[in-house]
């Protein structure tokens, strides 16, 4: 047990950079402001979202109270939080279990496989609290204060909150461990990791779709039905994923019944954890070890073939651009996280539209949206969607961080930092542009946008993606996270990714505000687009200038 805790402690230390932070505070006093600044930035960026969320939850609570089902707010929150963790867990666990760099240090140590597995699990779980606590704390407080919960309520609430990530994370871990054990054929490890990730994603999407189809009827009916049958619906979801309900009843039901559900939740969590450890002890290393092997072909190429391979000379910028692509496409975590926004986003929309598209009501909505008087707002909505799919990825905002330990190469090569950054920018832009184009195609397909309208939106969308990519990259250049163990950390546990997305929302709000202003001032439609174009272009130029000068300055500062 002592060994286990030592491992957990070390893992947490590395995961959160505790020693590194301590070092920075005690030794490198000049850089003390950085973590403080990040904290302030996060608070400024996240507090509005949290406030919004709290109000939403308050609304759900009041609606529930009105219908004499106040625990609705808890059920919604627990189910949402657990599904969220289940979804993220697949990626986190794959990274932690199979792709972290410290595994080659841990495997030779006299440790049981379950100790390694368990310590990695705990580190990820603690990490999940960062998302789970903001999701659960407001509803638990709302319900507790709203119904006058006693000491027992708060105590149970605290424990349930801490235990919430356990079950979904174990389910994703089991999924990953079993997947890696049985499908991991050494040679195609990376490919399989990607395919496995996407399968997981589609399972979740599919079940979402299924859940979505449960309530049918028009919108008024739906809301009424939802409010009347809310406990029915919640139970419906709960039946598919009961732990969320157990937690809810554990908190909301009085006396022994509540305690019973509470105990059920805790016991199942503990039991599943035991299963994971038991299974991990048997199959974890087998999958892991075969994963550590890398296929080597060891064949010499023919003279001709070889000369074709190194028979191309390109400029440094294009060499860096191509390196970015190769490293990106060959690292499963990057592909999954980078492409899920611009590809899965639009496709999810297609699924949703296709699923609901056959109903009369949906057709009515489409014809409604196609009316000429709605052309402008619908187009602007489409543009917003384009920018959203373009901006909701972390490719640009982790571009420098991803270099990690190889950053010395960037410092050593005789290529100006602004050119290096340009190669990265083009890579990130291309991925965002893909999202813009796919969204554009969908607007044409589902809303029957005209060619000219679509072209105008595409131009604005592409300009906007350049702006978003350069802002994201600027964020990363100003404060890269170069010290990481797994590619996962560079991308998912990188605060810059979050900043990049918040910047996207900010830019969308700015452009939306501008469009609204122009519409209020009765500007003709073309002028709205021109106005948006000029504003985007101006911001893009400014942000590019800032990016290139920041690159020259910051690359010189960072030591490798």
């Amino acid at each position: 047990m002592k060994t286990f805790w030592t491992l957990v402690k070390t893992n947490l230390n590395v995961n959160f950079g505790i020693s590194a932070l301590k070092y920075r505070f005690t030794r490198e006093k000049k850089k003390r402001w950085e973590p403080v600044l990040i904290a302030v930035g996060l608070i400024v960026g996240l507090v509005p979202l949290l406030v919004l969320y709290t109000f939403m939850m308050l609304g759900v609570f009041n609606a529930g109270k009105y219908l004499n089902q106040p625990e609705m707010v808890l059920a919604v929150a627990f189910i949402f939080a657990q599904l969220f963790v289940l979804f993220l867990g697949i990626f986190y666990m794959m990274g932690a279990f199979y792709f972290s760099k410290d595994l080659h240090i841990l495997i030779p140590l006299p440790l049981k496989p379950y100790q390694v597995l368990g310590s990695k699990f705990v580190a990820v779980m603690v990490n999940e609290y960062l998302t789970v606590l903001p999701l659960l704390l407001p509803p638990i407080i709302i319900y507790g204060t709203g119904t006058g919960g006693g000491v027992l309520y708060w105590l149970k609430g605290l424990l349930l909150m801490l235990a919430t990530p356990v079950i979904p994370l174990i389910l994703s871990s089991l999924f990953i461990v079993i997947l890696m054990r049985f499908i991991n054929i050494k040679k195609n490890k990376d490919l399989l990791a990607i395919v496995g990730g996407f399968i997981g994603l589609f399972i979740i999407l599919g079940s979402n779709l299924f859940l979505q189809r449960i309530p049918e009827g028009d919108e008024q009916e739906f809301i009424k039905g939802f409010l009347i049958k809310q406990s029915g619906l919640i139970e419906e979801i709960g039946r598919k994923f009961p732990p969320g309900l157990w937690a809810t009843y554990g908190l909301a039901r009085p006396g022994l019944e509540g305690l019973g559900y509470f105990a059920l939740f805790m016991v199942v969590s503990a039991a599943l954890f035991a299963v994971l450890m038991w299974l991990g002890d048997r199959i974890f290393y087998r999958g892991l070890l075969s994963g550590q092997e890398v296929a080597r072909r060891r064949r010499s190429l023919s003279e001709e073939e070889a000369s074709r391979r190194y028979g191309r000379v390109s400029s440094p910028v294009s060499a860096i651009f191509r390196r970015e692509w190769k490293l990106f496409l060959r690292t499963p975590v990057y592909v999954l996280n980078g492409l899920s926004g611009p590809i899965i986003g639009p496709f999810m929309l297609v699924f949703m539209l296709a699923a609901q598209g056959q109903s009369e009501e949906a057709k009515e909505i489409f014809t409604f949206l196609e009316k000429p008087e709605f052309a402008l707002p619908v187009s602007l909505g489409g543009l917003g969607l384009m920018l959203f799919t373009a901006g909701m990825n972390v490719v640009a905002s982790t571009a420098l961080s991803r270099e990690g330990q190889t950053f010395w190469i960037a410092k050593m090569i005789p290529v100006a930092p602004r050119h290096q950054v340009l190669g990265k920018l083009l890579h990130a832009f291309l991925i965002s542009a893909f999202g813009v184009v796919v969204t554009g195609i969908m607007l044409v397909a589902f809303l029957g946008f005209s060619v000219i309208r679509t072209a105008v939106l595409l131009v604005l969308g592409l300009m906007g993606s350049m702006l978003l990519a350069s802002l994201g990259l600027l964020t990363d250049v100003m404060h890269p996270k170069l010290d990481w163990n797994t590619p996962q950390e560079a991308m998912k546990q990188n605060v810059n990714g979050l900043f990049g997305m918040l910047l996207t929302l900010l830019i969308m709000a700015l452009l939306g505000g501008l469009a609204a202003l122009l519409i209020i001032l009765n500007a003709p439609e073309w002028m709205v687009y021109v106005g948006l174009g000029i504003a985007t272009a101006a911001m893009t130029v400014l942000s590019l200038v800032a990016l290139f000068s920041a690159a020259e300055r910051q690359y010189g500062k960072y030591e490798a």
Partner: protein, 240 residues
């Protein structure tokens, strides 16, 4: 070729002096061996020479270019191999070499010839098309060496280049170093293998606690006392 003047670098707000007022001059045609105990400041000095670390004070001029003021020109003259090369695991060897050739703007004919030459020399032809991830430590060392020399830089700066190389590759590399310097170029390398330093270096510098405590040819270091080996000189100097 390499001109270092009053170079200083400290950590922890000046409390720990990693490199302390170090000056040295390495001439064209010279193999310069840089020796010192662990933590003496060898790697810190080398990293400042190639622009990875920023000095607190002092200047470094490589092939006539100041690494701080004209970094790109200086870097073009340098072929650098770090002591523990972390390279792009998910590129193949040949992709890495091509990347290096591109960023150093090496023309096609020259890059083809050099890649072929070094891959043959290091016995890497068969592995060149595999991901670097699959390489052993020594193979990584070899591919990084090849990448560093692909643009035929005038100044080679090698941090522990012989660690991890098999005897044959180490032998060939030493030959290359000699040949390179015979053409009027410069090699600056750090090592712990005193026999190698004694054998192939034209001049040797010994650094201890960030200070250059001795510099000169083997003869000058012996100061007439012929019996002394480099090992005993080293031990004596660094223990003071």
């Amino acid at each position: 070729m390499i001109q270092i003047k009053n170079l200083s670098k400290s950590y922890n707000k000046g409390k720990i002096k990693a490199v302390d007022n170090l000056s040295l001059h390495v001439r064209p045609g010279e193999i310069f061996g840089f020796l010192g105990p662990n933590g003496a400041g060898k790697t810190t000095t080398i990293k400042m020479m190639v622009g990875l670390l920023n000095p607190d004070e002092g200047s470094i001029v490589i092939n006539g270019f100041d690494i701080r003021k004209q970094p790109l020109e200086a870097k073009k003259s340098i072929g650098y191999v770090p002591d523990n090369p972390d390279v792009y695991d998910r590129l193949t060897g040949i992709e890495y070499l091509n990347f290096m050739a591109d960023v150093y703007r090496t023309p096609l004919s020259i890059r083809k010839e050099r890649i072929k030459y070094y891959l043959e020399m290091f016995n890497l032809e068969d592995a060149a098309h595999d991901l670097i991830k699959s390489y052993s430590h020594g193979m990584k060392q070899k591919i990084v060496l090849t990448g560093a020399l692909i643009h035929d830089p005038a100044v080679w700066i090698l941090d522990e280049p012989l660690v991890g190389l098999d005897p044959k590759a180490a032998h060939l590399l030493k030959e290359q170093m000699r040949r390179h310097c015979d053409k009027g170029n410069t090699v600056f390398f750090s090592t712990h293998i005193l026999e190698v330093a004694e054998k192939i270096c034209d001049r040797i510098g010994i650094i201890s606690k960030g200070r250059l405590i001795a510099i000169g040819t083997m003869e000058e270091l012996r100061q007439g006392d012929r019996a002394e080996s480099l090992e005993s000189i080293f031990l004596e100097l660094t223990e003071q």
